[in-house]
């Protein structure tokens, strides 16, 4: 293949990201023309707060997708994390300890996902569909089916604190993305995620323990989901039981919007953040315009299909 053809391919990869960025820019321009309140810093904090939880979840989902997997259980792990955290707080346990315990349980759930997928050889989609249903059940059992209200001041600390005017969940979101960017780029774990996702057989033959990587990734995914649940519960001052249903697929949508491939081995974590941001802006903008919020789903669906279409059309056009 000639050098010219190769540069074309590089441009193509960059170009699909450019499509997503232009969609985002276009949305911001349109919304700010239509609504005078859109382009204000407080509105962006509000967008940030809305997407913080989905953003945290999407990190884990992105890792799973890059690995060539899929984690359906993150939504109900989020709900479960919130409920466990709330129950522990109500039991009078120090808040910091409740967080540690909740995260440990979350990690254990993901570890189970990993074991089921690697050692019991169940396909990731089915394995996490199963655990998702189990987590769903646990949420209802632990909450008796209704929101768990917590009236303790420290419980809402994460959700309500601002540092230098910036809401803490947004700061956490940015730090986590930076951290996982570094992990993917500079650590052996990050590299192995890309290799195993790109070709598990080749990785295995090259001496990589593919099972351990898979277990690590699903553990991280659940851990992040449980943490998302803590942040969410802290913002509302209560653990909601119904939040789990849409988050898993929303996080996949965001990751795909950000250019992470379903086939594994490819993708950039900042792309995923971009995807999350698009979803947040869309939702916020429509609310600003006084459009019924249900339309956001229709808009998100259209944007997703357009974004992916632009990538595949580009591939064919060569």
């Amino acid at each position: 293949m000639s050098g010219k053809a190769l540069t074309n391919i590089f441009n193509k990869r960059a170009a699909s990201l450019i499509v997503v960025i232009s969609v985002l820019a276009l949305m911001i321009i349109v919304f700010s023309i239509l609504s005078p309140y859109f382009l204000q810093i407080n509105n962006f904090y509000s967008i940030g707060l809305t997407i913080a939880v989905l953003g945290i979840l999407t990190i884990g989902q992105s890792l799973c997708l890059i690995l060539g997997g899929f984690d359906l259980s993150v939504g109900y792990m989020l709900a479960l994390g919130g409920v466990i955290n709330a129950r522990l707080t109500l039991a009078g346990i120090p808040y910091i300890l409740t967080i540690v315990i909740t995260l440990a349980i979350g990690a254990f759930g993901g570890f189970l996902n990993g074991i089921i997928i690697t050692k019991l050889r169940v396909n990731a989609f089915i394995a996490t569909l199963g655990t998702m249903t189990i987590f769903h059940g646990l949420v209802f059992i632990l909450s008796n089916g209704s929101a768990v209200m917590v009236n303790r001041e420290d419980f809402t600390w994460i959700g309500s604190t601002r540092l230098g005017g910036i809401p803490l969940p947004i700061i956490i979101l940015v730090i986590l993305y930076a951290l996982f960017y570094l992990i993917l780029k500079y650590t052996i774990l990050g590299r192995k995620i890309y290799l195993v996702g790109g070709n598990a057989d080749a990785s295995k033959i090259s001496g990589i323990n593919t099972d351990n990587i898979t277990i690590a990734v699903f553990t991280l995914s659940s851990l992040l989901a449980a943490f998302g649940g803590i942040v969410f519960a802290s913002r509302v001052g209560a653990a909601q039981v119904t939040v789990g249903s849409t988050y898993a697929l929303d996080s996949v949508t965001a990751a795909l919007l950000g250019g992470i491939a379903l086939s594994g081995g490819k993708g950039n974590i900042f792309g995923a953040l971009l995807g999350v941001f698009i979803m947040g802006v869309l939702q916020n903008g429509l609310i600003m315009l006084n459009i019924m919020p249900y339309y956001q789903y229709i808009a998100t669906g259209i944007v997703l299909i357009l974004a992916i279409m632009s990538q595949t059309l580009r591939k064919k056009g060569s």
Binding site: T187, G198, G207, N209, G265
Partner: protein
């Protein structure tokens, strides 16, 4: 008998973005002729066939059949003109029956649109009957997915016959066939040829071309380098045409290294249903060839050595010490490297860069305190590219964009940077062009001369005889001979591989 020109393609030009794939190419096919198109990868042979079969459009040029100019816009046009294409990877539906696969779009139905199964099977058997004994063993009611690769190919040929194909183009048909299947395929093609069908045979296996074909057209860099009658040419002439220069494929015979240490010894390696009582050893400085027909136990043996077969039992000694290898990780740690048969499936991470493919075996070594030393990684991969002369603009190129030969070199470099002492090459030159082939042979010899122990598995006898110091022959999961490669002839090895 007057030779009747069946197909004429003249002044065909075709370019893809950045590449002129065909330059003013002309090609002729007679009725009742097997005409080979050969050339290195990227020489344009597949492009020409795909234009003929309506898969690609051409930029300029004319095609005529039986003297009539034709316009082929798509696959349907080609079919209507009686042109059949048998691709390298057979395209069958594994969960449908053989008969359904054969008739595909012409499955007999009654007035209500309900499939008439009896009629379908009957018709399938009729076509099958015309093909003779190689087709007899196939049950038209069985599922296509249960067939061997050779039989699947047969289905495609039978399918071609159902629409009265006059021209059948086969793209690298023997690349995954066993010796026996190749023989059957050749018989069948010879039979079809007598009926007046013109056959285009794309291949770069020169010995097959010499055995089967009537004429051969050699492509080089998108142009026709020459057309010759097979009975008037020889392998060396064809090679020279393909590469445009004289090339000594296997190079000088490697000098034997005496008194090398024993690096790997295998004793009574057995895996139920695959291999039985396999014992052999390889020394530093030695190239050990492994010959046998597909499925005779060669790849199964190397998989067992490399920890990929959990049922294998037996003793393995590395540098004289008895070892346990339960997983590839153990094998890699012991200094064994494995260039697998399936380069794309098991060798490379295609969607990652050349650099990260080269370094994937040494990630631990590249890590200092949690962080990978990306500078060091870059240095190592650039060094590998120079060392093995890998042709890429830079090492950030995705592995999928490299040619077969260069991909193979990337796989080899990933084992060279682990400093493995024992390297297993399984069919290392499959599907790569002649220029790259001779480079791979040179690399293997240099590695052996540098003190490494090399095992080469191959189904190509000239290749094994050209590079090995010693050859073990496999048959039905056992080793039937262990021979020094001095004055060995192809027949000697074949005899052990087939019966003894």
């Amino acid at each position: 008998m007057m030779e009747q020109i069946l197909l004429k393609m003249e002044n065909i030009n075709k370019s893809f973005p950045g590449v002129q794939a065909l330059k003013d190419v002309s090609f002729e096919l007679n009725a009742g002729e097997i005409h080979s198109i050969c050339g290195e990868n990227g020489a344009g042979k597949s492009t020409l066939i795909k234009i003929l079969c309506g898969i690609h459009g051409m930029d300029t040029g004319t095609v005529s059949i039986n003297g009539e100019p034709v316009h082929i816009q798509n696959v349907q046009d080609a079919r209507a003109l009686g042109i059949a294409y048998i691709p390298q990877e057979t395209q069958i539906c594994p969960d449908l029956t053989v008969a359904e696969n054969v008739f595909m779009d012409k499955i007999p139905r009654n007035g209500l649109g309900i499939v008439q199964w009896k009629k379908l099977f009957q018709k399938a058997m009729e076509v099958q009957g015309t093909l003779g004994k190689c087709a007899e063993r196939i049950d038209v009611r069985s599922y296509a997915g249960d067939l061997t690769i050779g039989q699947r190919q047969l289905i495609e040929i039978i399918r071609a016959l159902t629409f009265d194909a006059k021209i059948i183009a086969l793209d690298e048909p023997t690349s995954s066939l066993s010796k026996g299947e190749i023989k059957e395929l050749f018989e069948l093609l010879n039979k079809l040829k007598v009926t007046g069908i013109g056959i285009i045979y794309v291949s770069h296996k020169l010995n097959e071309i010499m055995e089967l074909c009537d004429r051969v057209t050699v492509f080089k860099d998108g142009q026709r380098a020459g057309t010759q009658l097979v009975r008037e040419t020889n392998v060396q002439t064809l090679i020279n045409l393909m590469v445009g220069r004289s090339i000594d494929l296997y190079g000088a015979k490697k000098e034997k290294i005496q008194g090398g240490q024993e690096f790997l010894r295998v004793e009574k390696l057995t895996s139920e249903g695959k291999i039985r009582d396999i014992s052999f050893s390889v020394h530093g400085g030695e190239i050990l060839g492994m010959f046998g027909i597909v499925g005779a136990g060669r790849t199964e043996t190397s998989n067992a050595i490399f920890g990929l077969d959990s049922e294998a039992a037996g003793d393995i000694y590395v540098h004289g010490k008895k070892v346990k290898i339960n997983s590839p990780q153990n094998a890699v740690k012991l200094g064994i490297g494995y260039v697998t048969e399936d380069r794309r499936g098991q060798g490379l991470v295609l969607c990652n860069t050349v650099r990260s493919n080269v370094s994937m075996t040494i990630l631990k070594k590249l890590t200092k305190l949690f962080c990978m030393d990306l500078q060091q990684e870059k240095k190592i991969s650039e060094h590998s590219i120079r060392q093995l002369n890998i042709k890429v603009t830079n090492d950030r190129v995705m592995a999928e964009n490299l040619s077969g030969g260069n991909q193979q070199k990337v796989v080899i470099s990933k084992w060279l940077c682990t400093n493995s002492d024992i390297l297993i090459f399984d069919e290392p030159t499959r599907g790569i062009d002649i220029g790259a082939k001779s480079e791979i042979y040179r690399i293997m010899k240099e590695l052996a001369l540098g003190g490494k122990a090399i095992i080469v598995i191959s189904s190509e006898l000239p290749e094994l005889l050209g590079v090995s110091d010693r050859i073990v022959v496999f048959r039905n999961g056992q080793i039937t001979a262990n021979l020094d490669n001095t004055d060995l002839q192809e027949q000697d090895l074949l005899q052990y591989a087939i019966n003894y």
